[in-house]
């Protein structure tokens, strides 16, 4: 009983479901608009689905190509392969088919692939150089949790609405530019048609931006869920918290100055809190690092690992 309450975050699940429901409403609204507008519904849907299918099935190859990540064998990277294999067993998923390294100084990692059987995990050389084994394990656990939770599939299909709405926006933009939504026609009810098309255009734009926000919100929740699942795999939430601290540059915030230098300069230490940009955080695909670290450290405080 206790394990369930610790292994799952019901609040997070409820938030994800609510976001999913709102996305569903956005889908319904978009289809409604498509029907009203008289635009070729099946053509638009078909193109959107074809694009998402392509992305879904080719994601691992596309990402490897665009990031320049090079697959490495177990002989080349025995420690990394061993870590991924061990955590995959703990997580109850097959070992990812491809393990890759990007020769990039910035510490980062990603997981991709349409299913656990077609998964790829890639890390940068910057990540391998900066993190100790425990922290690297924390990051790998997080990436494997993305695979286990099928986040590539969830996010790819969730973003179908943005693909369709984006496609419609472009179509309507060009229609308005060259056809004036039919408003130039003097005969019949050309003016009325133009008004309807203008309303459709505005509606599609609204749905596009609302969907973007909802998908970014869903993505942030999936990240938090992957943090949690990854922490359960490794048995130590503080490993990922420590890695996030390093990756996000919090260590870089630690000053080199002597305390007394600052005392003389400013006796009261009035440090303005950094105000995040509200719009930027709405559209961000990842939660704030502080939020993620706080949640992981809260898990650590619960001594939940004793219940595994």
């Amino acid at each position: 009983m206790q394990r369930n309450s610790i292994g799952k975050d019901h609040q997070l699940t409820i938030r994800m479901v609510m976001t999913g429901l709102m996305l569903f409403v956005a889908y319904i609204a978009l289809f409604g608009i498509l029907l009203i507008s008289g635009l070729p519904l099946f053509l638009v849907l078909g193109m959107g689905i074809a694009m998402v299918f392509f992305q879904y099935f080719m994601s691992d190859k596309l990402v490897l190509k665009t990031t320049g990540a090079k697959p490495v064998t177990a002989e080349e990277q025995p420690k990394l392969h061993g870590m991924i294999e061990r955590l995959s067993i703990v997580g109850g998923i097959p070992k990812p088919r491809t393990v890759a390294i990007m020769d990039i100084e910035a510490p980062n990692a990603f997981a991709t692939g349409r299913s656990p059987n077609h998964a790829t995990v890639a890390v940068t050389t910057g990540l391998l150089n900066r993190l100790n084994d425990d922290e690297l394990e924390g990051v790998i656990g997080h990436e494997l949790a993305h695979i286990k939770n099928r986040d590539v599939m969830v996010m790819t299909w969730a973003s179908l609405i943005v693909v369709i709405a984006g496609f419609l926006m472009q179509m309507l933009f060009w229609m308005s530019l060259f056809g004036g939504f039919g408003g130039h026609r003097r005969e019949g009810n050309g003016g009325q048609a133009a008004m309807i098309m203008m309303a459709v255009y505005v509606g599609v734009i609204v749905i596009y931006f609302v969907s973007q926000i909802l998908i970014s919100t869903l993505s942030r929740y999936r990240e938090l869920a992957a943090d949690r699942e990854g922490a359960i795999m490794t048995g130590s939430p503080s490993n990922l918290a420590s890695a996030l601290n390093k990756i996000s540059g919090q260590i870089a915030q630690i000053p080199e100055k002597d305390l007394r230098q600052v005392e003389h300069a400013n006796a009261f230490f009035i440090i303005p809190a950094l105000q995040g940009n509200a719009i930027a955080s709405l559209m961000s695909s990842h939660p704030k690092t502080e939020v993620r670290i706080d949640r992981l450290m809260e898990m650590q405080r619960q001594n939940w690992h004793l219940l595994r």
């Binding site: 260590i251 915030q253 002597d258 006796a267």
Partner: protein
């Protein structure tokens, strides 16, 4: 009313509800880090860091401290003071094999200095210990009433990774911890 509140009055309100902030550090004694068996231990020494002023107190700190006679419990720590070669500051070093008694004495001396009207000269209390077999310090900033870890290494460097781990441990025990951006160094801790 907590010590730090009495020292700084309305100017610096400690954000913690602890009546004795310094004693909260005892919560980490004998704790171990995740995946580690080495316990955190404290050394027998601690210190109070002061910014020296023109006040006569600073002309002979040791003599001034002999006048302290706390009502509740006598001072049991060996106390010596020394001038810092840097930043016009002074150290008052405490030595006591019993950590809680040493903390009580740091509190008593701090209260005494505050009662002399010199509360604003006190910068921090510093405790030493071993964390993961590394000599480490726990600094309590008197301005913010919060702790932060300090792990100096060779060549005036610091082990930021271990500091982060200690910081996480302090936080996990509910000890008020400074934001990372305030984890300032201290170059000449005399113990």
């Amino acid at each position: 009313m907590g010590l730090l509140k009495s020292i700084f009055g309305k100017r610096n309100k400690p954000k913690s509800d602890e009546s004795d902030i310094l004693s909260t550090i005892l919560r980490v004694e004998n704790l171990t880090f995740p995946k580690s068996t080495e316990k955190i231990t404290f050394s027998v020494k601690s210190a109070l860091l002061l910014n020296t002023s023109d006040d006569p107190f600073f002309e002979n700190i040791d003599a001034s401290l002999k006048n302290i006679h706390p009502e509740q419990q006598p001072i049991t720590s060996k106390i010596i003071s020394m001038k810092s070669g840097e930043y016009d500051s002074s150290w008052i070093v405490f030595e006591n094999p019993i950590m809680q008694k040493m903390i009580n004495d740091v509190n008593s001396v701090s209260s005494h200095i505050a009662n002399l009207g010199l509360g604003s000269t006190m910068t921090a209390a510093i405790f030493k210990g071993m964390a993961k077999n590394e000599p480490s310090y726990w600094v309590c900033n008197y301005r913010s009433a919060k702790f932060y870890p300090l792990v100096p290494t060779d060549n005036n460097q610091r082990d930021n990774n271990l500091e982060m781990e200690i910081g996480d441990l302090l936080t996990s025990k509910g000890i008020p911890v400074e934001p990372h951006a305030n984890w300032y160094s201290l170059s000449d801790i005399p113990f």
